[in-house]
């Protein structure tokens, strides 16, 4: 017999030890030596999966139906095989987006929807309620049993006056523990080092306690496994306990594997410990096999203890759920029994603490805060420290959650075994699975789909599992189960729509999952996602792609100053932390923020994530949105951001276009450059030629004038000759300079023109009269073809005459010797009046015909011969004709030599006439 005070004393000493460990863990973390940053501590904390259900309930189930207790541990093992697909992805998503709970995860995934987050929080709280009550029940039962055995056994009255007090006291003590270490301050990262350390310690305690009882039963009471199993096999009614299938078939087995696979991901406390409290992704590498190993080890002795208990209490006079405790007591091992009790206590407390913290975060961030903000109770723009308010909400919700669990324990837990109660919770948590798993692999999953799926699945769960549990405890009439509500047989909660032949759990899971997954998929396919949903969907599904390169989502646009942002954040996480976080951000980005400076999108995203850690991502978005002046980016722009592919295509098209333009420009540039080079060469030629042209007459003038001045006695005849040469060369020089000046004037556009209507026939005749002397001198025949009635042309008379003189004198120079012939022809053509001057010389080679109009152009063959003219005549002709709006060219003529032609437009008056 153990005294009450001993048990109570040991229990509270144990809780005290937990406080001490958690306190030490928090202190260590503050000094930078985090205990939780260790893969083994991490693994042990994940073992919070093993609760009283495992510690007491598994044995009870094994005693009832053999190996049926195992699926709950095989499912998680299967999920952990796929760790790199599921866990790493979820952890990465949560770290990148600062997600701190399942509600936050689902709400963030589906477009940061506040409503969805609230729904998830409600489901999580109601779904966890039976689970917490299971823990409280096991503590109460084991406490009573330890004190009163055998007087109370087998008919355990969990509702005895003392048990009542104990359970409530335990519930309150656990609430205090959770409040102290789960809500000491608002930490944006939601890491609770001390709590994690305490949970890991509890995992060690429960494992040791269970193994101690198992070893005692197997080797103390019996002679090892073989002996125990052989004894059991000899008893016909125990043969059921050695197999899986048995009477019930495999339906329940399969259901439980599937259910536990969903539960290991979706239970709020598992999500919290595995994902939120994860410090380093690489810790997962150890946990991924150590955690299943922990499960395997803690389950080895379940069957032996159950068989041993069944053999001892063959009349069924003991509660199979408590075999772990009763077997040592019966064999008078009170110390072991006390140890087993502490093990059970540790299993229960760890679950309750983590669940309470995880749920309070959800209730606060996704339920209460959005409501307060919506109702206008929390004014973002006004000052005031909201972080205190957050803490109060969380602490209150922990207390309420604990009381809710206690309430369910008082109402509904008495008539159920531990495992049955736990499975109700599993089925509720499993409702999150489609939204979570679909959310990280299917970009197209839409908010409405998740919303309707969750709601319908949850309703089905309520109807087929939760309400019947109330009915069986007498809170609803039992006819609700047996005849259905209002005696409608089709609505019987355990045989909905006449579906019979399943066990209750499989039945509930079938209907809830059918509705949940069905509406999730179909509504997702039917609805259009909002831009934000699409962004979030891509961020979640392609999280590795996004985190490899740049991170985050830069879609805030608008203006808010750094000071405003910091003030907002500090009101939720405390000013010291906010200041530290902002300084950290500035340091990382190598910048200094001025308070009045407009925050860039990077800082805004950072602030949003800091807030998301404290109040949930949906609310954080609203908060930031409320202080950002200007709009959240419009739909078009967001689409453009998401559609990186189309953007890239657009970009490459532009690039292509640019490159074509560039190529074109290059070609033009090259042409221009060639032309420039040519011109440069021409200019050099021009300068050298012009100096040569000027020097030749100058030299002869100087030479002759020197002779004349040095020799006064030069005979008159010679003197006359010399003077005439000087006069001729001076004339030539003058002509040359005149022409150069003319050309320069024309090129610069400064030439004075006197344009008027001129009769070309008169001009040609006048010119020919002028040229008559030259023609006579050279003995050249002129053929003049002047038709009647030539139209007037609008030209400068003198310049027109100059062109004719140039061309004719050229023709005279180059015409055949000794019988030179020249033909001047006028004709009216389509482009106006065409004048042709041809000779019977050797003509112009085709290659030179274009360049002959350039300044100082000489045909290659005649460069060494003395120049006949200035070399500027044809260039001047071209300038003049071009000015008149005409064209000049050279071709092979009828007389065998060159034929220079030009055409000039006819006067407009003439055309009108």
């Amino acid at each position: 017999m153990v005294t009450t005070w001993l048990v109570v004393g040991v229990s509270f000493a144990y809780l005290g030890l937990l406080f001490a460990i958690a306190f030490y863990g928090d202190k260590r973390a503050e000094m930078g030596g985090s205990l939780a940053a260790n893969p083994y501590i991490y693994t042990l904390s994940i073992a919070v999966f093993c609760t009283s259900w495992t510690f007491y309930g598994s044995v009870g189930l094994a005693a009832q139906s053999g190996l049926d207790f195992l699926p709950i541990y095989l499912g998680p093992t299967l999920v952990f095989i796929l760790w790199s697909f599921i866990w790493i992805k979820i952890i990465r998503i949560c770290k990148v987006n600062r997600i701190t709970s399942i509600a936050d995860f689902i709400s963030a995934r589906y477009g940061k929807s506040t409503a969805l987050g609230g729904l998830v929080a409600i489901i999580a709280v109601l779904g966890t309620m039976p689970y917490i009550s299971l823990q409280l029940k096991s503590i109460a039962t084991s406490f009573t049993l330890l004190l009163n055995y055998p007087s109370v056994a087998p008919g355990l009255e969990a509702g005895g006056p003392f048990a009542f007090d104990t359970t409530l006291v335990v519930a309150l003590a656990l609430a205090v523990f959770a409040i102290l270490f789960g809500t000491r301050h608002i930490d944006p990262s939601e890491h609770h080092d001390g709590m994690v350390a305490a949970i890991a310690f509890e995992s060690v305690v429960k494992l040791c306690a269970f193994l101690a009882v198992g070893l005692f039963v197997t080797y103390g009471i019996h002679n090892g496994f073989t002996d125990l199993f052989e004894k059991a096999a000899a008893i016909p009614e125990l043969s059921q306990n050695l197999v899986v299938g048995g009477e019930g078939g495999y339906g329940r087995w399969i259901t439980m594997i599937l259910l536990s696979m969903a539960a290991i991901i979706c239970l709020p406390r598992q999500f919290h410990i595995t994902v939120v409290e994860n410090v380093d992704e690489s810790h997962m590498r150890k946990a991924v096999w150590l955690f299943p190993l922990y499960l395997l080890v803690i389950n080895i002795f379940v069957l032996p203890i159950a068989l041993s208990g069944k053999m001892l209490f063959s009349g069924g006079q003991a509660d199979a759920d408590m075999f772990v405790l009763t077997l040592p007591i019966v064999h008078d091992q009170m110390a072991l029994a006390l140890f087993a009790f502490i093990g059970g206590l540790s299993a229960a407390t760890s679950m309750v603490i983590v669940a309470a913290i995880a749920l309070s975060t959800m209730v606060c961030n996704n339920l209460v805060m959005p409501l307060l903000i919506h109702r206008g109770r929390v004014h973002v723009r006004e000052g005031g420290d909201v972080s205190r308010l957050l803490l109060i909400i969380r602490r209150t919700s922990i207390l309420l959650i604990m009381l809710l669990g206690y309430g369910y324990f008082r109402i509904a837990s008495e008539s159920y075994s531990l495992v049955t109660i736990g499975l109700v919770s599993f089925a509720a948590a499993a409702q999150f699975a489609p939204a979570i798993i679909g959310g990280i692999f299917w970009t197209g999953a839409a908010r409405r789909g998740a919303m309707v799926g969750l709601a319908l699945g949850f309703l089905a769960w309520c109807y087929t599992l939760l309400l019947p549990s109330f009915a069986q405890s007498g809170w609803l009439p039992i006819s609700f189960i047996e005849q259905g509500p209002w005696e409608i047989g089709l609505l019987k909660p355990y045989a909905l729509f006449g579906l019979e032949g399943f066990d209750q759990l499989s039945h509930a899971l079938f209907w809830s999952m059918l509705l949940n997954i069905g509406s999730y998929v179909i509504i997702s396919l039917l609805t259009h996602q909002s831009p934000l949903e699409r962004i979030q969907g891509t961020l979640f599904v392609d999280v590795f792609k996004h985190t490899e390169g740049r991170t985050g989502s830069h879609y805030w646009e608008g203006t808010v100053t750094v000071a405003d942002l910091e003030e907002l954040v500090s009101r939720f996480v405390g000013s010291a932390r906010a200041q530290k976080a902002f300084e950290e951000f500035a340091r990382r980005n190598d910048t200094v923020f001025k308070r009045g400076q407009v925050a860039d999108s990077g800082l805004m995203n950072y602030a949003e994530k800091l807030l998301a850690g404290a109040i949930g991502s949906a609310t954080a978005r609203v908060m930031i949105g409320s202080i950002v002046k200007g709009e959240i980016v419009g739909i078009d722009e967001v689409y453009r951001i998401i559609d990186e592919t189309s953007q890239a295509i657009e970009y490459s098209k532009k690039l292509e276009q640019k490159s074509i333009e560039l190529e074109d420009t290059t070609r033009q540039l090259q042409r221009a450059n060639d032309r420039l080079k040519e011109l440069d060469a021409l200019k050099d030629d021009f300068l050298s030629t012009i100096s040569h042209e000027l020097r030749t007459p100058l030299t002869s003038i100087r030479a002759f004038s020197e002779i004349l001045s040095d020799n006064p006695n030069v005979p008159d005849e010679e003197r006359h000759h010399f003077l005439s040469v000087i006069a001729k060369d001076s004339e030539r020089l003058t002509r040359l300079i005149d022409q150069i000046l003319d050309l320069a004037k024309m090129e610069a556009g400064r030439m004075q023109w006197t344009v008027e209507d001129v009769d070309p026939a008169i001009v040609v005749r006048d010119t020919m009269t002028l040229m008559d002397g030259l023609l006579q001198d050279k003995n050249v025949d002129l053929i003049l073809d002047l038709p009647e009635n030539l139209p007037m042309v609008r030209v400068d008379r003198d310049k027109f005459m100059q062109v004719l003189i140039n061309l004719v004198s050229n023709a005279v120079k180059f015409c055949g010797q000794p019988e030179g012939r020249i033909a001047v022809t006028l004709a009216v053509v389509e482009t106006g009046l065409q004048v042709t001057v041809q000779d019977n010389g050797k003509g112009v080679p085709a290659a030179n015909r274009d360049r002959i109009f350039d300044k100082f152009h000489r045909s290659p063959g005649e460069s060494n011969k003395a120049p006949h003219g200035t070399g500027l005549g044809l260039a001047i002709c071209r300038q003049i004709i071009t000015f008149f709006g005409g064209r000049i060219w050279v071709e092979e003529g009828d007389l065998g030599g060159a034929a220079f032609s030009f055409s000039i437009p006819v006067s407009r008056n003439e055309m009108a006439a």
Binding site: L67, L78, V96, F229, G245, V288, T547, T551
Partner: protein, 85 residues
Amino acid sequence: MKRTGRKKEWSITLFCFGLLAFFPPILELFDRPLLVGGFPLSYLFLFGVWAIIILAVAISAKKRRGMVIPDQDGVTAGPDRSGES
């Protein structure tokens, strides 16, 4: 991602192996009320397969050269760097 594709395929294969072994009809083959070496056959089978899976996962999760899980900088408690561009 720097993970090699084959490793993922192995883990899916292992997952399928687990599903096959833990579900009927394979499970039914070993689910008989027999004692093998003093242990129930079902018990031996389930714990045996379970142990094999854990061993295989342990081997596959071992960090090998050139098989790095994409590491995110600043994973630890400090603020993450998602704001950087």
